[in-house]
């Protein structure tokens, strides 16, 4: 896998734009998913994911091939997502409500013309509730929790993506986890 990615990255560095499309196919779902979990909004998630890939393309020369490409692209995406959260809500508070219209957003992930069966709606509501709870976390805990528990990444990977010492990542996971526990109990 890694050697395949390396080959593709080299092609991109040589100026092969089609190779970049291949690279995107490999990572777009994860990048989009992280952005969605950070922002809780599919429109913004798509924006951030696209911007992340554009920046990756523009700065491909600065990508160090000895490191994992996934770490690099996830780092660009999380940074962009955090920037966007800061711009959107300069004073972020835990008690900030997620707006009513945004509650519908989760359904757009499963855009369907047909009417959904009851069982499906319950599932979607449960999923939306989980996302709302994630959104209640301050962004610095949110990113750590998403990478750890949704993306199942190691502490080392998370520390590289967030550019933080492992000890700090641990603290953020602990605090994020505690904040969620208090709300969910």
């Amino acid at each position: 896998m890694d050697s395949v990615v390396k080959k593709i990255v080299r092609e991109v560095k040589r100026g092969n734009q089609d190779a970049f499309a291949e690279l995107m196919e490999l990572y777009k779902d994860k990048v989009y998913h992280i952005a969605y979990r950070m922002l809780g909004n599919s429109h913004e998630a798509q924006d951030v994911a696209q911007e992340a890939f554009l920046r990756a393309y523009m700065n491909i020369e600065s990508y160090d091939e000895n490191r994992k490409f996934s770490t690099w692209i996830f780092r660009i995406a999380t940074n962009l997502a955090i920037d966007r959260i800061r711009k959107k809500k300069p004073d972020f508070h835990l008690e900030d409500k997620v707006g009513g219209t945004e509650n519908l957003d989760y359904y757009s992930q499963f855009a369907s013309e047909e009417e959904l069966p009851e069982e499906q709606i319950v599932k979607l509501e449960l999923q939306q509730w989980i996302q709302d709870e994630i959104m209640h976390l301050p962004p610095k805990y949110r990113s750590a929790i998403i990478l750890k528990y949704l993306e199942d990444m190691s502490l080392k990977e998370i520390s590289e993506i967030l550019n933080l010492p492992v000890a700090t990542v641990k603290t953020r996971i602990h605090r994020g986890r505690e904040a969620l526990r208090k709300r969910l109990k």
């Binding site: 092609e11 089609d18 779902d29 989009y32 554009l54 992930q109 989980i130 949704l150």
Partner: protein, 211 residues
């Protein structure tokens, strides 16, 4: 009644699976006898299970195309070279009217790349490492091939030079100039030097046309 605050550290170690077997056993014994810790651990496990039950979904189908459309447009020559690299087997019948230099197998690196310099219509068969001037086609000046063979079935109005390769000539071939095969690095350097000097400093001027 309240269990000590230090238990939070132990709870975190336990949840992070950073305890030795011995420590885990001791901690679990405590949890079983301490209602507060028991509740805390149960709630944490439940919280993590809930978060982990969040489903994964795919990016919108349009994402890749949207990004690709925003990439800076590439110059034509670059696109063309990319196309050459991606389709080395099917490069046939391409016609070139500009003086033209191709590094075909740059993707495979090293000194072995096939280089073709010529003006006209030729075919590059990369797997066979051969450059073909098909019957009925003509190269309007010199033709130079490096690291590959050449087969001339058509016409070359100038010289044919093959470096590290062989020249094969069909009966239909018409070559107006000289045919030269160079197979050693030294000769190649010499060839380049000679070329340089004849271009920059004309060595002889036999027809005496200078005024």
């Amino acid at each position: 009644m309240a269990c000590s605050r230090e238990k939070q550290t132990l709870i975190n170690q336990y949840m992070d699976e950073e305890m030795t077997l011995q420590e885990t056993k001791q901690f679990e014994e405590h949890v079983n006898s301490c209602a507060e810790c028991k509740q805390h651990v149960t709630e944490l496990k439940k919280t993590i299970a809930i978060v982990q039950s969040a489903s994964h979904f795919e990016a919108p189908a349009s994402l890749t195309a949207n990004v690709m459309n925003k990439l800076p447009k590439q110059p034509k020559t670059k696109k063309w070279q990319m196309w050459m690299r991606k389709n080395p087997m099917i490069i046939t019948a391409a016609t070139f009217f500009l003086i033209f230099l191709v590094s075909l197998s740059a993707a495979f690196g090293g000194e072995d790349e096939i280089v073709v310099r010529g003006e006209g219509h030729f075919i590059i068969n990369e797997s066979e490492r051969i450059v073909i001037v098909p019957e009925g086609s003509s190269i309007s000046g010199d033709l130079l091939i490096r690291n590959g063979d050449v087969e001339v079935n058509g016409e070359v109005e100038g010289d044919v030079t093959v470096i590290n390769g062989e020249h094969l000539q069909a009966s239909t071939a018409q070559i107006s100039g000289d045919i030269e095969e160079i197979n050693e690095a030294f000769e190649w350097i010499w060839y380049e030097l000679k070329n340089f000097f004849t271009k920059v400093i004309p060595l002889g001027n036999n027809d005496g046309s200078e005024e």
